[in-house]
């Protein structure tokens, strides 16, 4: 088995998608897997306060279910991970206005790529309907300008 295969097997085990490879202390690897899961969830909760508010005490359980089926994005860190979590949640439940607003602000500044997120180089306009506030919000992400929030509702 090459080092590449050994490292891949270990990462799969740490993500909870494969058994602990032979020879490792399984209890220790599982302790590391728990620490990793906790760290990933906490980082997303910090980058996406709107999700923490929307999900409340359900955050950890919902995020755990998402994380088990979705690997970490290669680029964009917790912001990218959280955006994927938002898309995952959107298939299951209506999103709170605050989450839609935060998603708008991320979408206006970053481009979704196969590997995660990368900063936009060109201005971008995004529109969202906020159900609770009953208004449409237009987000304008532009070079060197702060995000604007004109409201039409």
């Amino acid at each position: 088995m090459t080092l590449h295969d050994q490292q891949s097997a270990l990462i799969a085990a740490l993500a909870g998608n494969a058994p602990v490879p032979a020879g490792f202390d399984a209890g220790r690897v599982q302790a590391a897997a728990s620490a990793l899961a906790f760290k990933r969830a906490r980082a997303v909760a910090q980058a996406w306060p709107s999700l923490r508010v929307m999900l409340g005490d359900d955050f950890r359980a919902r995020f755990g279910a998402y994380a088990a089926s979705t690997p970490l994005p290669q680029q964009g860190g917790p912001l990218a991970d959280g955006l994927r979590f938002v898309h995952y949640l959107a298939r299951q439940m209506p999103l709170a206005d605050e989450v839609k607003l935060q998603q708008l602000s991320v979408d206006a500044r970053y481009r979704r790529t196969r590997t995660g997120l990368s900063p936009r180089r060109y201005p971008r306009i995004r529109v969202a309907w906020l159900a609770k506030a009953r208004c449409t919000v237009i987000a304008l992400g532009a070079w060197r300008f702060r995000l604007q929030w004109p409201r039409f509702g």
Partner: protein, 288 residues
């Protein structure tokens, strides 16, 4: 045997720069250097105003990466190295740092610094990767020892010997993390005194210290989110008896305490460094 000729840049007291600590670090008149998390800034159009203000008053900035995966079976990614090199130039950093670890394999990110098998095969791969990184970086690279909760089976050498061998073969500098050494002594029974004897002290670029906590799983977790343990400061004192490190930096990443608490930790570091005699440093260099 390769011999290092350049003396290490004197960095002094350091803090890991985080937005939450910007004001606190700005108020610290004796701050010599900060670390910026490279991945957070290498595609940013501009640096935070607070970082620019520190640079204006002469505080040195070191770029610290976590995602190069120098211990990975694959060569480090060119795009990441280019971005890291660009950031180092932009910061006029005297050196940059990264960990002796791997973070991805088979296209899957672990989101964490993972340990390497301490085998001759892995050693050869790390040396190849470090050389590839050095070829693209404009300044010296310092490599950091990591904290781990588990180890690979089949180790052919101690962690200290593995590190010493990588540094010897690549001429890289050492970022000695004493909190990680402490964590590994708690979790794996590593003897810190033996570790400090085996590593090349003259290659130390700077030192990390940080807090952690004993978990319910019976293991010590290097969290960077808890107070600095007295044992880590004791290790710094032990190190100072052997050599005077060019810089010591506190890492605090989460659960930020009141400024007084962090200032007390920085004061403790300053006080230990103050007691660190210059003769020790000269002595270490003569021995080297």
């Amino acid at each position: 045997m390769k011999r290092m000729e350049r003396p290490q840049a004197q960095l002094g007291l350091g803090g890991g720069w985080r937005p939450e600590l910007a004001l606190m670090l700005d108020r610290r008149a004796d701050l010599g250097f900060i670390e910026l998390l490279a991945e957070d800034f290498w595609s940013a159009r501009e640096l935070p105003a607070a970082v620019e203000a520190l640079r204006d008053r002469g505080v040195t900035v070191v770029a610290h990466a976590v995602s190069l995966s120098l211990g990975g079976a694959d060569l480090p990614e060119r795009d990441r190295l280019q971005a890291f090199a660009r950031l180092a130039r932009r910061l006029q950093a005297p050196l940059v740092s990264e960990h002796l670890a791997f973070v991805r394999a088979g296209g899957i990110e672990s989101g964490h610094l993972l340990p390497l098998p301490r085998t001759h095969e892995a050693l050869g791969i790390v040396v190849r990767n470090v050389r590839a990184a050095q070829a693209m970086l404009p300044v010296p690279l310092a490599l950091e020892n990591i904290a781990t909760l588990f180890e690979w089976p089949g180790a052919e050498m101690t962690e200290a010997d593995f590190i010493a061998e990588v540094l010897e073969q690549t001429d890289a500098l050492l970022l000695l993390d004493l909190a990680n050494l402490y964590a590994n002594s708690r979790n794996h029974g590593v003897d810190p005194a033996d570790f400090l004897t085996r590593i090349p002290l003259e290659r130390i670029a700077y030192v990390h210290v940080a807090g952690g906590v004993a978990g319910t799983d019976g293991l010590y977790h290097d969290t960077h989110a808890h107070a600095l343990p007295a044992q880590v400061l004791r290790l710094l004192r032990d190190l100072c008896e052997r050599t005077r490190p060019p810089g010591v930096l506190i890492e605090r990443d989460d659960r930020f305490p009141p400024d007084e608490a962090l200032n007390a930790e920085l004061d403790a570091v300053v006080s230990i460094l103050g007691g660190c005699s210059a003769e020790c440093s000269e002595q270490a260099q003569v021995e080297a």
